[in-house]
């Protein structure tokens, strides 16, 4: 009998897992995909929002600013990249100034510190590439950027090292309510647990509606993005939002924590919970909107496009807490933006509910620290010299575009909850995330997966299941 089963290894599920690993609890995370961070958490704006957008009476509004402030300590403890680059909400029309002031007031109510309204000229002094059409902006110094993969992986690894089990390719297909808990069925096993946590992202409604009469529906809201080459990563230093105009909500232009430029998203409600395809119209739309914010959008430097799904329910707010009619079933659901920012705090809130219910002992061996993969590219010359001497595999570059060494890839494969597929390696090391998008490194990366995990080359996948790279050997079909 488990104490806690968490369904979903996205950023929310992993944040909860890490928080409950502070206690002596037998717990497991069930994830339907091959790795952590494969759904909503993997494809979003990668922003740590300051917290001025949501209405103060909503959970989103209450949690955001507080969660934002948790990031400095968390990044230090878990060794992931995070930077408070600050954000600007751009206003393009004098007539919209009241809306900007309204946003500032809302932010202040939400507890966002140091908000300022600055003039168009001040904006351009700060960000020379901002469009001349901008008349003013709301400046939030606490806005930040983070790598969502790194964050989620760090939370998961730390949870795992502190005792939480993880099962992948383990979609929950049935839940049975028991006297003292739940029976959770996956295709491989049946698990009994006292507490069941719903962190199932866009499938949160499905899981909730299996057990609770308080039903809700999650309609995935798709957002498309273009990612640009690092050559143009310094187009802006701060995250540029747009004040909603008559054209719609607007899109953002931001540097990523790794130095690329990111543009997007649009917002389209869809039926299919798996549909992360991009569309011509969507990609054209975000580019058109983004070009309002900056003087020049370097269209020729796009290296990839992607889309992600926001887990949005009709409640238009997070659903966090025990289902009113099902004791022990805890929702962390309908986590749309600013979900990435709020995840660490959601972890604490859910953990507190569990603590209340099970009254667990402290895990004396809990280690809050996690050391990430040493990034060769970030090292000084002296450090580079030293690490190659100690570990010669750091002397071989596999991914040229991002200067990722064999040492880093081996570490990514062999560390706790290590990478099992190409996307897993990419998200842990950035090998294949650069301007050639894995054209050069794919064969070497596959050799390393093959040699370390003993997976035949024809079984290696991009992201699990049927996403194989190779179909057989030459002349096999003749």
């Amino acid at each position: 009998m488990y104490d806690v089963v968490i369904v979903g290894a996205g950023v929310v599920g992993c944040a909860i897992a890490r928080e409950i690993s502070r206690y002596k609890l037998k717990s497991i995370v069930l994830e339907k995909e091959n790795d952590v961070c494969c759904g909503t958490s993997k494809a979003n704006s990668a922003i740590v929002h300051a917290g001025h957008d949501a209405l103060p009476e909503t959970l989103k509004g209450k949690l955001n600013a507080k969660a934002n402030l948790m990031f400095d300590k968390l990044a230090e403890d878990l060794d992931f990249h995070f930077r408070r680059n600050g954000s600007l909400v751009l206003c393009f029309d004098e007539k919209d100034m009241d809306k900007l002031y309204e946003l500032k007031a809302r932010g202040e109510k939400n507890g966002v510190p140091e908000l300022q309204i600055i003039s168009g000229d001040e904006v351009r002094k700060m960000e020379p590439n901002v469009s001349d059409q901008v008349v003013a902006a709301l400046y939030a110094p606490t806005g930040g950027i983070v790598c969502p993969f790194n964050l989620t992986i760090a939370l998961a690894e730390n949870a795992h090292v502190n005792g939480v089990e993880f099962n992948f390719n383990s979609e929950v297909i049935n839940i049975k309510k028991l006297e003292d808990g739940f029976e959770v069925k996956t295709k491989d096993k049946t698990i009994r647990t006292k507490i069941l946590v719903n962190a199932a992202g866009v499938y949160g409604d499905k899981l909730n509606n299996m057990v609770s009469k308080h039903k809700f529906t999650i309609t995935p809201r798709k957002g498309e993005y273009n990612l640009f080459d690092k050559y143009v990563g310094n187009l802006t230093d701060k995250t540029l939002f747009q004040l909603p105009t008559k054209l719609g909500k607007g899109v953002l232009v931001t540097p990523t924590i790794d130095g690329n430029l990111l543009v997007g998203p649009n917002a389209v409600d869809i039926e299919d919970k798996e549909d992360v395809s991009t569309t011509r119209e969507g990609l054209d739309d975000i580019m058109e909107k983004a070009s309002l914010s900056v003087k020049f959008l370097p269209k020729g430097n796009i290296i990839t496009s992607f889309s992600g799904l926001r887990a949005r329910s009709e409640k238009d707010d997070f659903i966090i807490g025990e289902a009113p009619d099902v004791p022990g079933f805890i929702n962390a659901s309908s986590i749309e933006s600013p979900g990435l920012t709020c995840a660490p705090l959601i972890g604490v809130i859910v953990s507190d509910i569990i603590k209340e219910k099970l009254n667990p002992k402290l895990n004396e061996n809990f280690n809050p620290k996690r050391k990430g993969i040493t990034r060769f590219n970030d090292l000084s010359l002296e450090e580079k010299k030293k690490i190659i001497k100690e570990r010669p595999e750091y002397g071989r570059i596999v991914c040229r575009c991002e200067s990722v060494t064999e040492g880093e890839i081996l570490d990514a494969i062999n560390r706790p909850l290590g990478a099992k597929d190409l996307d897993g390696i990419k998200r842990r090391t950035r090998a294949g995330a650069g301007r050639c998008q894995s054209g050069f490194c794919i064969s070497r990366t596959m050799e390393l997966l093959h040699s370390e995990l003993n997976i035949p080359p024809t079984e290696i996948t991009k992201f699990g299941k049927a996403s194989k790279i190779l179909v057989g050997t030459n002349k096999e079909s003749i």
């Binding site: 273009n226 990612l227 798996e274 992360v276 395809s277 991009t278 569309t279 011509r280 969507g282 990609l283 796009i302 290296i303 990839t304 496009s305 992607f306 010359l381 580079k384 010299k385 190659i388 001497k389 010669p392 595999e393 750091y394 002397g395 071989r396 570059i397 040229r400 575009c401 200067s403 064999e406 301007r435 050639c436 998008q437 894995s438 054209g439 050069f440 794919i442 064969s443 080359p457 024809t458 996948t461 991009k462 992201f463 299941k465 049927a466 996403s467 194989k468 790279i469 190779l470 179909v471 057989g472 050997t473 030459n474 002349k475 096999e476 079909s477 003749i478």
Partner: protein, 418 residues
Amino acid sequence: MNYDLVIIGGGPAGLAAAVAAKEEGIDNLIILEREEELGGILNQCIHNGFGLHTFKEELTGPEYAQRFIDKVNELSIEYKLDTMVLDITEDKTIYAINPKEGLLEIHAKAIILAMGCRERPRGALTIPGTRCSGIMTAGAAQKFVNMKNYMPGKEVVVLGSGDIGLIMARRMTFEGAKVKAVVELLPYSSGLKRNIVQCLDDYNIPLKLSHTVVNIHGKERLEGVTIAKVDGNRKPIKETEEYIPCDTLLLSVGLIPENELSRKVGVELSPVTGGAVVDNHFQTSVEGIFSCGNVLHVHDLVDNVTLESYSAGKNASKYLKGQLRKGETIKLKATDGVRYTVPHFINPSTIEKDITVRFRVGDVFKGAAIAVYFDDTKVLNKKKRILAPGEMEEVKLASDLFSQYPGVKTITLKVERS
């Protein structure tokens, strides 16, 4: 470590440059190669057709490379394999790593950049659709098939009719795959004519000109692509959309010179070629740093890479001997259908023999001529039955032209229709 000449890249460009420099008497030189063998991309080009110009015989890629590797060994030219250059500083210090020796700090008097090029990936085209497996560049597929004996797919669509795409359409067919179509956005192929005949026509593979892939389908592995005809502005025409079931999409949509190191050291790059701006000695905007081969501009034939790089190697040795004088330069201007020229400018003070100007045109021209102007005077008219963007062209500027027209400011190359 100190070297007179460091050559970055041990592919056909680096090898030829090294041989030339050594033959000119530069003994203290080294080639740095990131792969575990010399030869560069030729090692995976196992088809024949290499060396028709250089050796007057048809060789495979590895055979062509081996001729130069043998020469390098014969001349006892030093090289390091498995060695990646991380950085070059302005004072020509090169930082490189390899697993055996760790971090190397190499001081050079001259450097030849010969890093080659990379393939443009799907993302650069922003083809919408899913991000499933089964989509890769033609070169990546070539490596799997030719060097690892693995097939990346069974039912293939090739997007782009660059030479690697054409070659891979044939290779995939040889190895048992069904190539359903080669789809080309432009109204003409960007590959060599002989490759269209020998790789597509001979195997009944349809070449769909003025078509492109407009959508990619399949959640995990590729299941199919939607293609459409494009109009005169290269915009897809909705009514012409056609679904082709396939498990593989190979991309041959352009090559990009790999100038990350050149950027780091401040070498001026041409926005047209993506390669360095060079003079007739293949010297870049940074004194003592030379560039040749596909890192300078993308070639169709390795023979041209060899010729160009040989010349770059000779010039680097002249530089080291103090024989390259600085002086007023003449700008080469590409216009009216000529997209670019290499070199980009000429230093007339050190001209000894004819200068080869290589260039590409931006469209297909039939029955036209290449005209060369020294300022306003036409000095050369080279009639061409056909000019196509897929075939690199060249003109030779005789050395005595420069004494005939002293003080010339601009040399202009243009396409003139007769």
